[in-house]
């Protein structure tokens, strides 16, 4: 299964977004939060990202879904050295749910990334 890691400025946001995705999409594929700094403040921690990826990694690749700012920059720095970890350019919550549904079917890495990014094109009021 492809793993998913939610990279956020906020530890609480990452944890709750992961819990929401599991509540809706089930837990067939692993999803882990990586939010906040090492001290739990607002910001991004490379150490937390590394730990979350290690936990979500089952050998089929890991998709990162970021919120903004340093979360994006830290993710970009991390994937430089990891061909099996890919960033999805997706809305944080909707992308996480789409990715988890698709990953849970056993879909490959590129399909999970595509599913997450598709969430961008789905309107809420139409």
């Amino acid at each position: 299964m492809v793993g998913i890691v939610l990279v956020s400025h906020s530890a609480g946001l990452a944890e709750e977004a992961a819990a929401l995705a599991v509540g809706i999409a089930g837990e067939d594929a692993p999803i882990r939060p990586a939010g906040g700094t090492d001290d739990g403040d607002l910001g991004t921690s490379l150490t937390r990202l590394e730990e979350a990826v290690a936990e979500a990694d089952q050998g089929d690749g890991v998709v990162l879904i970021m919120d903004l700012g340093s979360a994006v920059l830290t993710a970009r720095t991390f994937v430089e050295d990891r061909a099996d970890v890919v960033m999805a350019d997706a809305p944080f919550v909707e992308g996480a749910i789409n990715a988890l549904v698709t990953a849970g079917t056993g879909a490959p890495l590129d399909a999970v990334v595509a599913a997450a990014e598709e969430a961008r094109t789905i309107g809420k009021l139409c």
């Binding site: 910001g43 340093s70 920059l73 830290t74 970009r76 720095t77």
Partner: protein, 195 residues
């Protein structure tokens, strides 16, 4: 320029960041989240400790340790950005005992490209690039010229409207404030003169 030169440069940056910590944070309070000085101070304090714990033996090792520590310890966007700057410098100078002015200028050109790619930023976006980009070609001439270009570049961000980073959320309200990232970049370049 040998290993000792690069250690003196990083030490000078650390000292300057510490001295200007509150000024950088004040600039960031106007158009950001008021943590730039504190974040960089925390990062370079960790760099100081890392360099003391395991003294590097080459210029490349000084730069790479600096970059890696910043990525790990800063916590804000400036961590990956400055981390990439120093790590790219470290890779670009190669495993040599001494770096020529020409080689350092070339390494800075590569570092500029790497930081622009990471942040998807161009000149005029009101970011650190506005201080770094004009300084890089001047490094072939002298550190004095590069420091002047970086400082002029940082000052020129004041009338700009931010298009990248946290300040971009402010739109037109970012106009009229000097960019904190460009200001700290000018300080990093200026510290070369003290090395």
């Amino acid at each position: 320029m040998d290993t000792a030169f690069f250690l003196r440069w990083i030490a000078a940056v650390t000292e300057r960041v510490r001295a200007d910590r509150d000024h950088l944070t004040d600039l960031d309070r106007a158009i950001g989240d008021a943590d730039h000085g504190a974040n960089l101070d925390r990062g370079f304090t960790a760099v100081e400790e890392a360099l003391a714990a395991k003294p590097p033996e080459t210029p490349s090792a000084v730069l790479t340790t600096t970059g890696t520590t910043l990525i790990r310890k800063v916590g804000g966007a400036s961590g990956p950005l400055y981390g990439t700057l120093f790590r790219t410098l470290g890779r670009a100078v190669g495993e040599v005992p001494e770096v020529s002015q020409e080689a350092l200028a070339e390494a800075f050109a590569q570092a500029l490209a790497a930081v622009m790619k990471l942040g998807s930023a161009q000149e005029g976006d009101k970011t650190m690039i506005d201080a770094l980009a004009p300084a890089v070609p001047e490094l072939r001439t002298s550190f004095d010229a590069a420091a002047r270009a970086a400082l002029d570049g940082a000052r020129a961000t004041t009338p700009m409207r931010a298009r990248k980073g946290r300040a971009s959320y402010l739109g037109d309200r970012s106009i009229g404030h000097q960019d904190p990232g460009a200001t700290s970049t000018a300080l990093v370049i200026d510290a070369l003169r003290a090395a």
